[in-house]
C-alpha cells in the first residue's frame, strides 16, 4: 500500500510561546500545541480519534477528555514525530482512524514536569551506575557528556575522507542565520560570519558553541486526516506525498559507516519512491540539525548532492536565501529552537512553507522534503509534503 496522497494535514501549530516557558509542564506544552492545531483546523477534541506522542498518549487523551481508539507511542528520539505522522497516515489510509492528533511538547530547558534526565547528564559514579547497556559499559567510562560529546564523533573522519573544511562546517550555521534573521520566533536572529562561528567558545573539538543547537522549551501538533475530507476544513491542505522510516544503532561509534547515515539513506529513498518524485521536484528541504554536520550528512545521504560535496554546496550559498535549494528556512535547530527532540519543528516549517505562510517564506514552494534524525543517527524519518491537489 502506498500512502501517496492518502492523507493531508489540515491543522498545524506550535506552542503559543517558544524558547523559555517556565510556567508550563511538558504535558501542558503538548496540550497547548494540540489545542492550537485543533483551532487551526476548526475542530474540537471530540473529533479526534487517534493520538500520537512520545509521552504516554493516555495522559494526553484524558487531559483532553477523549477516548481515542488509535495510538502510537513510538519513541526513537527526535524523529519520532515524523514516524508518528507516517504511522498515522497508514492508519487513516487503512481505516483504523479518521482524524489523528500528532503532538509533541518538551520542557528541554526549564525541565518542568519532566522525569527523564536532562540531555547531557553523565552516567557518572552517582548516576545510573548499574547501566549494563553497551554505552553504559563501553562508552560512559570514557567521559562523554551527552550528544555534544558524541553526535559529532564521525566528523573528523568525514572531513579527512572528503576534504571538507571546518569553514564549510561553520558555513552551515552562517546560512541558517541568514534564514532566521527574518523569523521573529527564532531563538537566534543575528547574522554571523564564518569567522565569528570559529571564534566562538570551544565546546567539544571540533565543535564550538555556534555549531551546536541551544536547549529550549516548546511543542507542536498536527491534525492529519483523509485526503478525501480536506474540503471540510478551513486550512490550505498539505498532502503527504511520500514517507519513510529506518533505524540503525543507538551507539554512534558502532554505526556501519561513521561518515554516513544508513538510516537516512533507507528512510529517504523510501519516501522518494513512494512519492514518485525526484530531487529536482523538491522546492524546499528541512534536515534536522542538532549540530552543523547533520545538514551535510543529510544532503549527501538524501542524494541532493554527491559524496563530499555538501560542505562546498552550503558554503557557496546554495541553501541560503536566494539559493537553489532553500534549507532549514526557520533557522533550523541551530537558530530557531531545539527542545531536545526537534523533528516536530522541522515538520512545522515544511508545512508553513508549503502553505505559503512561513516567516521567511520562499516563493513558489509546492513540495518540501523533511528529514528527521533520532538519537545520534539512531533513527530516521522522512516525509514529502505538497500543496498540489491529487490528479491536479
Amino acid at each position: 500500500m502506498s500512502l501517496r496522497y492518502k492523507t493531508a494535514i489540515v491543522g498545524a501549530a506550535e506552542t503559543s510561546q517558544l524558547g523559555v516557558i517556565p510556567d508550563m509542564s511538558e504535558t501542558q506544552l503538548h496540550v497547548d500545541a494540540a489545542i492550537n492545531a485543533m483551532r487551526d483546523a476548526g475542530i474540537d477534541a471530540s473529533q479526534i480519534d487517534g493520538i500520537s506522542a512520545t509521552m504516554n498518549p493516555a495522559t494526553l487523551a484524558h487531559y483532553l477528555g477523549i477516548v481515542p481508539d488509535w495510538v502510537d507511542n513510538t519513541s526513537v528520539g527526535g524523529t519520532s514525530f515524523l514516524i508518528h505522522m507516517r504511522h498515522a497516515a497508514a492508519a487513516i489510509a487503512s481505516g483504523l482512524a479518521t482524524t489523528v492528533l500528532c503532538c509533541m511538547g518538551q520542557s528541554g530547558r526549564s525541565r518542568v514536569g519532566v522525569s527523564a534526565p536532562r540531555i547531557g547528564t553523565a552516567a557518572g559514579p552517582s548516576g545510573p551506575s548499574y547501566d549494563v547497556s553497551y554505552p553504559g559499559q563501553f562508552e560512559s567510562i570514557y567521559g562523554p557528556l551527552g550528544p555534544t560529546t558524541l553526535f559529532g564523533m564521525g566528523v573528523l573522519r568525514y572531513m579527512k575522507e572528503t576534504g571538507t573544511t571546518i569553514e564549510q562546517l561553520a558555513s552551515v550555521a552562517v546560512a541558517q542565520r541568514r534564514w532566521s534573521s527574518k523569523v521573529p520566533r527564532a531563538m537566534f536572529r543575528q547574522l554571523v560570519t564564518v569567522e565569528e562561528v570559529l571564534a566562538s567558545r570551544m565546546i567539544c573539538y571540533p565543535y564550538r558553541l555556534f555549531m551546536c543547537c541551544p536547549v529550549t522549551d516548546g511543542g507542536g501538533a498536527f491534525i492529519l486526516t483523509s485526503a478525501e475530507r480536506v474540503d471540510d476544513y478551513p486550512t490550505k491542505p498539505v498532502y503527504i506525498l511520500g514517507s519513510g522510516e529506518a533505524v540503525e544503532t543507538p551507539v554512534v561509534s558502532q554505526m556501519y559507516d561513521m561518515t554516513s547515515s544508513a538510516a537516512f539513506k533507507a528512510s529517504s529513498s523510501k519516501a522518494f519512491a513512494e512519492a514518485g518524485v525526484t530531487h529536482a521536484d523538491i522546492d524546499h528541504v528541512q534536515i534536522y540539525d542538532a549540530f552543523v554536520h547533520l545538514p551535510i550528512y543529510g544532503l549527501e545521504d538524501l542524494g541532493f548532492v554527491g559524496r563530499g560535496e555538501a560542505g562546498a554546496f552550503i558554503e557557496e550559498g546554495n541553501t541560503s536565501p536566494g539559493g537553489r535549494l532553500p534549507l532549514n528556512t526557520n533557522g533550523g535547530g541551530l537558530s530557531y529552537t531545539h527542545t531536545g527532540m526537534y523533528g516536530m519543528f522541522a515538520m512545522q516549517e515544511s508545512v508553513r512553507q508549503v502553505r505559503g505562510e512561513a516567516a521567511h517564506q520562499v516563493e513558489g514552494v509546492r513540495t518540501s522534503f523533511c528529514q528527521g534524525v533520532g538519537g545520534m543517527f539512531m533513527a530516521a524519518g522522512s516525509l514529502i509534503f505538497t500543496n498540489e491537489a491529487p490528479h491536479g
Binding site: Q137, I141, G143, T149, V155, L156, C204, Y205, Q254, M258
Partner: protein, 140 residues
Amino acid sequence: MTEQEYRKPIPHPSPETEFFWRKAGQHELWIQRCIDCGEPFFYPRLHCPDPGCMSDRIEWFRASGRGTLYTYMINHRPAPGFEADAPYAIAVIQLEEGPRMMGNIVGIENTPENLALDMPLKVTFTDATDDIAIPNWEPA
C-alpha cells in the same frame, strides 16, 4: 597507577561481557569471532552479528592490542570524574582485527596537533578497582 581513588565511571559487566572485563582486569584485550564465518566483532554478543549468519558458535580470542585512531572529539566540559583531564579526547579506535571501540588516549597531551587520524596506537590498561581495568590507548 597511583593509590588515588579512581573517580571515573566503572563498568558493570553483564553475562555477555563478563569474560571481556575479566580479561581486561588481567590487562589483556579479548574480543570475539564467529567460528562459522570467521568475522571478528565487538561489542560482546552471544551470536554472530552478520544477519545472514546468526551463528551461536562464537569464540573469544586475544586481540593484538594494535589499532589506529579512527576519529575523536576533545571534550572541554568534563564529565564527572574527568575534571583533572579536561580537555580530553574521546576517541574511536579502529582495531587491527576490524571492529571499532571507544577509548581515551593516554601518554600524550590531547591536542588536535598531537592527534592525527590513523596514527598507530596500542592498548594500555588503567586499573580502576582490584578487579576492573579500563582499556585505553597510547601512541604505538
